[in-house]
């Protein structure tokens, strides 16, 4: 097993530093607003917030090219936003509007987008892994040097599909980046209460692929690890497993009374808030100051306000269309001139 190298190998310019901070803040502020709207009853269904884990999506997705693919979980608002789905399309989806990225058919747990090759929004734990393996197989068979990044949590590691997919990807040398977001809890079940071997990278390494743990609270460590893993995968080196050790600051979903963990534990992890610590780092290196932060927050607030306005102004799909998209619709012949 390789231990994650110090993050200093990622050269930190003002631009890239602010870019990373901006994306983490965009996720945080978007989700804070989602929670408000959920409490107000505007957003319904399940709502799983990524707050606390932003460094993982932001750092990892930076290493991908536009035609790479992403398969994510039901805690995917952050991945969707950073991958390039607009905040408006995400918000409209949660509002159940036809302008949503899944036309309001998916909701918070099922964000999809063909333009950015974003394949969900998968809400069966472990169920996205076979899709990622298949997408990578298609790329391999068609001779395309593309990578599929597959996100899943520590809970998925207990599923048979995890083991089947790790084996198949390695056996067939497929270009998959397995991104395990280990936030220590499968809903309310602590990792140590679910796994005999809690070192997930070690478990993954038994499938004969490079696997190492990464500090998932440090966006530079995440960016560095994926920047090393992705080119090797793209070059035909086969899959790679990164265990991002992270923590969810909010309840599992809006219905979770959090009986399974202590406030002290949550507070201790909040001391390592990826946004706070990274902001401090940028200040230290004089890459950002108060005025810069205020400006950034203002831009993000405007983006989110615009997203909410867009979602609010969106349309409800006519009920007559209820049974569309169960089967493909006949392709329309091009109109003759």
């Amino acid at each position: 097993m390789v231990v994650s190298s110090p993050a200093s190998s990622v050269a930190l310019s003002r631009e890239s530093g602010l870019g990373l901070l901006r994306d983490m803040l965009r996720i945080r502020r978007l989700e804070e607003k989602c929670m408000e709207l959920y409490s107000a009853g505007t957003i319904r269904g399940f709502l799983h917030l990524y707050i606390g884990e932003e460094a993982v999506a932001v750092g990892a997705l930076r290493a991908l090219q536009p035609d790479d693919a992403v398969v994510a979980t039901y805690r995917e608002h952050g991945h969707a936003l950073v991958r390039g789905i607009s905040a408006g399309a995400i918000m409209a989806e949660m509002f159940g509007k036809v302008e949503g990225c899944s036309r309001g058919r998916g909701g918070s747990m099922h964000l999809f987008d063909a333009a950015t090759r974003f394949y969900g929004g998968n809400a069966i734990v472990g169920g996205g892994l076979p899709l990622a393996v298949g997408l990578a197989l298609a790329d391999k068979l068609q001779g395309r040097a593309r990578v599929t990044a597959c996100f899943f949590g520590d809970g998925a590691v207990a599923e048979g599909e995890f083991h089947e997919c790790m084996n198949l990807a390695s056996l067939w040398n497929l270009p998959v980046l397995f991104c395990c977001e280990n936030n220590l809890y499968a809903m309310g079940t602590a990792l140590a209460r679910a796994q005999a071997e809690t070192d997930l990278a070690r478990k993954a390494a038994s499938f004969a692929m490079p696997a190492w743990p990464v500090d998932g609270m440090d966006v530079l460590a995440v960016a560095d690890a994926t920047a090393r893993a992705v080119p090797a995968i793209r070059a035909g080196g086969g899959p790679c497993f990164l265990e991002f050790r992270t923590y969810r600051f909010r309840p599992h979903s809006a219905f979770d009374p959090e009986l399974y963990r202590s406030k002290q534990e949550v507070e201790a992890w909040k001391q390592r808030d990826p946004i706070t610590t990274f902001t401090a780092r940028l200040r230290e290196q004089q890459l950002v100051d108060d005025a810069g932060l205020t400006r950034l927050e203002g831009e993000i607030a405007r983006e989110i306000e615009a997203a909410i306005a867009f979602a609010d102004a969106g349309h409800l799909e006519p009920v007559e269309d209820l049974t569309r998209f169960v089967y493909s619709e006949p392709r329309k012949a091009p109109e003759s001139r």
């Binding site: 393996v133 068609q142 569309r324």
Partner: protein, 331 residues
């Protein structure tokens, strides 16, 4: 190619369909357990590895969920995968991928991502394979919106359904009855695609409609011959497609004969046969001259012993009896 008939088995017809698909479309590949070196559990893919190589004839580990899901992913990625599951009972290990992913992704994505995947599997009993290799879950699968469910019972359909299934933009499940693989007959050498939307009337008759699909088609046709011997002309409808169901063909037949018997190798409770009867009752209730009857498998896990297995399955005498009862009911 010529249209002159050649003699072949159901297995040969399936293999010819696979070869054809692999030759015609470079996006097509076959994967599953022992499809390559072993030649397929039921020898359907025998010889294909040698002809098309290991990239396109892919042996998989015993990981049904992973390789069925990988088929879905590969379909999303632009390929036209054919996934073979050794037997219908094993498909339950991939039920999550079939029901939660293949059937839902088009809808969940608001129409953005379709899944052009074909899944083939062996179904049915009759070979003393007992309670974990012999069931008929087609009716179950037909419950799921988003997938199509095919049951080829004839050489034409064994040869032609795969082609049409591959042309379909959505997931298609093909159920091949294990007792049919050795069935031999004649088929035009240049037999091609067949429709995967309609039921077919396999025997025209005026007195009673016998409605069936898959492995029980041939038992039902044999029963119809027997009935003809006692002056009852039965019409035999082969459903061919369990989802979406071609109710129009079924209802039209019942409207002509006014009587119906459903023959289904699945269990009766909550079954395909129950669905057919409901459609008849909803659609042509006032055309009926007698209560609808059905002949299904006994509601037990399939036993191994030959006499018990035979007793558990729909058989010709039971179909004949059911038709006679329906005929003798007062109009």
């Amino acid at each position: 190619m010529s249209g002159a008939p050649i003699r072949l088995t159901y297995r040969d017809a399936m293999r010819a369909a696979l070869r054809d698909a692999l030759q015609r479309d470079p996006r097509v590949f076959l994967m599953g357990e022992d499809v390559g070196r072993y030649g397929g559990c039921y020898a359907v893919s025998k010889g294909l590895l040698e002809e098309f190589g290991p990239e396109r004839i892919r042996d998989t580990p015993l990981s049904e969920s992973a390789f069925v899901g990988a088929g879905i992913g590969a379909a999303l990625g632009g390929m036209r995968p054919i996934v073979e599951i050794m037997t219908v009972n094993f498909s339950l290990l991939a039920l999550d991928q079939i029901v939660n992913n293949a059937a839902t992704i088009l809808h969940m994505s608001g129409g953005q991502f379709n899944v052009p995947l074909v899944i083939r599997m062996t179904t049915g009993a009759g070979r003393q394979l007992a309670a974990q290799h012999s069931h008929s879950f087609e009716g179950w699968y037909a419950h799921i919106p988003g997938i199509k469910v095919l049951a080829p019972a004839t050489l034409e359909d064994a040869r032609g359904m795969l082609w049409s299934a591959l042309e379909d933009p959505d997931p298609v499940l093909l159920f091949e009855h294990g007792a049919l693989y050795n069935m031999a007959g004649e088929l035009a050498a240049d037999a091609g695609p067949v429709d995967i939307a309609t039921a077919a009337v396999r025997r025209v008759g005026t007195d009673v409609s016998l409605i069936t699909y898959g492995g029980t088609l041939w038992k039902t046709l044999a029963a119809a011959e027997e009935l003809a011997g006692i002056g009852i002309e039965a019409e035999v409808v082969d459903l061919r497609v369990l989802r979406p169901l071609d109710a129009a063909t079924v209802l039209a037949s019942v409207e002509r004969t006014h009587r119906a018997v459903i023959v289904d190798e699945g269990w009766r409770s909550g079954s395909a046969s129950a669905e057919i009867i409901t459609r008849i009752v909803e659609g042509v209730f006032y055309s009926l001259d007698a209560p609808v009857a059905r002949v299904c498998s006994a509601e037990v896990p399939m036993p191994y012993a030959k006499h018990l297995e035979e007793a558990a399955l729909p058989q010709v005498p039971a179909i004949v009896d059911a038709a006679r009862r329906v005929m003798s009911a007062r109009a």
